[in-house]
Symmetry: C2
Subunit: 560 residues, 2 copies
């Protein structure tokens, strides 16, 4: 008899499923469902570019489509496949993506009286309307509860839970008043599948709670009433309609209802795991464990590792995402990231690469990679900072911008592209060094995401700069895979270690640092740090006058 | 009766003439002669990209063509024009461009035994073979004669007189031994026209001598024998075959010989002025006087002003070209410059501007200028350093490189182009401020060169950043005009002031600073200086961490 699990991964523009064989790791079905509402699934407001909302209807329609579709594929792939052998379901989503719900757990957006009122819809992670509220929360916490800020890197973001809910209260008190409670997208989907959508029933995940809602056991759950009252008494009032405890994803959110089982073609009563965010589930799907850093390399990056609770962990400056249990139960989940990686390359190719490299974006990238792979480290004399979208880890500062230095009258686009790749790798190294300074040893780096799979040139540069061998996860759906593994585990019949061992495969091609390159990059990284600290850290003492000269010296050496 | 003068301007790839009416300033004839030898007039060595030589034959052929051609044009333009009313000839050339000559003043290159030996040809200003010799001269001077370095900004260049001659001695002792003497291009042409080419007859110009050959009256002319012997005894020996005194260009080099008068169709015996470099003559042609800065805006810039000798002048740090009489007699000639201006824009358009702006370089510039002229100062949030080709004034450091800062994920090419224009203007302002700090007041800025004439957008940005009204010289041949004016003056019948007043016209369009823009640029210039000093000056104490944030604050203000 086989054992399968299904993972559901809700992204920004679409959701997708993965049906996996828990003994072999074979992926039998995977369906993508693009959200039909709005533009690429996002509801926008022409008068305010900061607005980004979603329609919860898309989530439900997508859920049915991707589960039944994956089952159909599995039947086609494996004769004799029996959906009754699916032993659990797991869910991950974007976040913080809060939804206002009524007393039954129905999103207000689905109720006729709120039709077309975007404030009643889902507040997508990338909604940036709440910057004033974020600043006020940061200011109030700095004054009253500095411990709240320590856990999130010193700044509470406009993308997060309380900012958005408070924003709703301010701009649309009617919606706020109509909401019995609010729920993260990743908590609502398991609640729907298990018929536990009443606010007092929903099992909230610690991942979303800890990262976005200032939840921690050490201060008794959510922020205390006095603090919330200082923001607005209505938020204090809301607190009692939220939750006291949040759960790890090896916990069962509930059992699949007979109705949903029928609709989806699954066995009723199978367990559905407590939900979590996509990156965290992706790390699990990529085989995260102590000593392993999982890097999700996309338009931005998310870097995740874990540390057993018994190892103990001080607050790490600039590491804004340390939450107990957010990735693996019994471990601190440690999350870092770079605000823009692939986005920097896309910006560059779209705005600054002439057609002599090719006409389409793809052609330009291909030709630039061909030419830059012939360069030696340091040969261009260029050095860049990867801050076009600010710096998340370790500086936690959105008011930083990009920098390119070392240009001559002969500098070409592919040299700058290489310098930008190197800059993102130096940024990645800065994160790893910060972890290691605080006792979080990294001996293995597993990469996932589009760039890891498609860009071998980039991967080799990363290996040379990080000075560590790099692996690439075999699955193209590590997030859905991680969700599926928790779906399997939450029933209590298998362990996470066992299914990770079976399912988290690596690609054959690994990237080992080339010793000569590594040595040159160590020199250049010292210069990167001079710029990084100088521009990024107030009051840092930096001697800049040798930076350009040292780069020229390295350039001359590398060209000869 | 009319009075005319002819100016000859020898550039890098061609020479040109100007025949001017000294009473009206009317330009009656101007001919361009592209040098026929080599590639665009330059003889190169495929095994060494630093080699750049010229054929002196081109200078003679060109001289005849451009003088007779200009006379022909004047006859056509003005019925009754009489070449006998040409009262003098003046000459400017590139430099330092030394020529090895025999005892009769014949360039070795024209002698059959040296045919094809590039070391016997003219060593063009941009020949860069002598960098080792330049470094040794700098080192020796630092040890023995620091006063020599003070006058040239602390570094003796590979482009200059002694470096090149010493290089010739090292790589081709046969040529060195065969040379009775060496002569600057600008001194040789007047000597040819006046039949004074014997080394002991040639009247050397103080412009070339002072700027390139370490000549100064205060130490008795050329570098002393002991110093030259420390370089090489053969150079000490050469010293006695050079010159003791150098002359200003209001001095007559000699009288036009009957033979040349016949060949050229001019009156024999008219005076020919002592030669000088093109930029210095160009400043005179643009109307330089105390308080007036002339900026020649091209691929690089040359900034020239003058200060009456009686005003006195200390060494100005970073101002590497102060030579008594190099521009106007009785005045310190003060020369500064930026290593790359138009060259930076050309680099950018050729390497980093996509075809969405246009297909040709011209189309791209036009479209970028259209779009950037709609931006307000600071609106892009970008800041650049204009050091792609090093920094000549005030840092005197070739080991500096370009920098662009402030990029987001939305930064576009025309915004960067504007930042590059602004960077060159900030560099220009830095030069003016340095002058003013040392008592060289600038109350009027006259611009010449391609950028000044063609790029109104750039000129307005310059006016806003320099905070001074800008004029543009009317003549497109200010160098040849300045040479012509000295040709007129050296005969002693007219004064320079008189012919400058008659001939140095300005275009109608002037550029006045826009007060609001000026204020914003003052803020941004403070940030430019932070980067300039930080990256450019050893040991400078700089707080960088506010640079990006201040630019963002300005950007937000300027966008709203």
């Amino acid at each position: 008899m086989s054992r399968y699990a299904i993972g559901l991964d809700y992204g920004t523009n679409s959701c997708r499923s993965l049906l996996v064989d828990l003994d072999t790791g074979e992926e039998l079905g995977s369906i993508v469902f693009p959200y039909p509402s709005g533009t690429l699934g996002i509801l926008t407001d022409p008068t305010d570019p900061n607005v980004a909302r979603q329609n919860p209807r898309d989530y439900l329609d997508g859920m049915v489509a991707i589960i039944t579709g994956a089952i159909g594929q599995a039947r086609a792939t494996r004769p004799g496949f029996d959906p009754a052998e699916v032993i659990g379901i797991g869910v991950d989503t974007t976040g913080s993506t809060p939804i206002p719900i009524d007393a039954e757990g129905t999103p207000l957006a689905l109720k006729p009286e709120f039709a077309g009122n975007l404030n009643a819809y889902v507040w997508l992670w990338k909604d940036h309307t709440a910057h004033a509220e974020a600043a006020a929360i940061t200011g109030t916490a700095a004054r009253m509860r500095p411990q709240y800020l320590a856990k999130c890197g010193g700044i509470y973001s406009s993308e997060w839970w309380w900012s958005k809910i408070w924003r709703c209260l301010k701009v649309d008190p009617g919606v706020f008043a109509a909401a019995s409670s609010w729920v993260e997208h990743c908590d609502w989907i398991p609640a729907v599948l298990t018929g536990t959508t009443r606010p007092d029933q929903i099992k909230r995940g610690v991942c979303a709670a800890g990262h976005k809602a200032i939840y921690a056991e050490e201060w008794g759950g959510l922020p205390d009433a006095e603090f919330l009252a200082a923001l607005d008494p209505a938020l204090m009032d809301l607190r009692s309609r939220l939750y006291d405890k949040a759960w790890t994803s090896d916990t069962k959110a509930g059992d699949l209802t007979p109705e949903w089982a029928e609709t989806l073609g699954l066995k009723p009563g199978i367990p559905v795991a407590v939900g979590a965010f996509d990156a965290h589930m992706g790390a699990v799907g990529a085989g995260v464990r102590p000593g392993t850093l999982v890097k999700i390399l996309g338009t931005s990056t998310c870097d995740i590792t874990v540390l057993p609770n018994e190892a103990g962990l001080a607050d790490v400056p600039g590491l804004c995402g340390v939450v107990d249990g957010s990735v693996l139960p019994g471990h601190y989940g440690i999350e870092a990231g770079q605000s823009a990686v692939g986005d920097i390359f896309l910006w560059f190719v779209n705005h600054l690469v002439p057609d002599s490299y090719g006409v389409t974006v793809g052609e330009k990238f291909t030709e630039m990679e061909r030419r830059l792979s012939a360069l030696r480290p340091g040969e261009s004399g260029l050095l860049a900072l990867d801050w076009n979208n600010g710096n998340r880890t370790v500086l936690v500062d959105v008011r930083l911008t990009g920098l390119i230095l070392g240009q001559t009258l002969h500098t070409e686009a592919h040299e700058i592209y290489r310098a930008l790749i190197e800059a993102t790798a130096f940024g990645a190294l800065t994160i790893i060094r910060r972890m290691e300074e605080y006792g979080i040893t990294i001996d293995r780096v597993v990469n996932t995401g589009g760039l890891a799979v498609k860009n071998a040139t980039l991967m080799q540069i990363y290996a040379d700069i990080l000075g560590k061998p790099l692996q690439v996860a075999a699955s193209e759906q590590t997030c859905a895979l991680g969700a599926a593994l928790f779906g399997a585990v939450c029933g209590g019949t298998v362990t996470l270690g066992e299914v990770q061992e079976n399912c988290c495969r690596m690609r054959e091609r690994e990237y080992a640092p080339i010793p000569g390159n590594e040595a040159v990059y160590r020199e250049i990284y010292a210069l990167y740090r001079t710029l990084h600290d100088g521009f990024g850290i107030e009051g840092s003492d930096c001697e800049l006058s040798q930076v350009m000269k040292d780069l020229i010296a390295i350039r001359q050496r590398q060209r000869s």
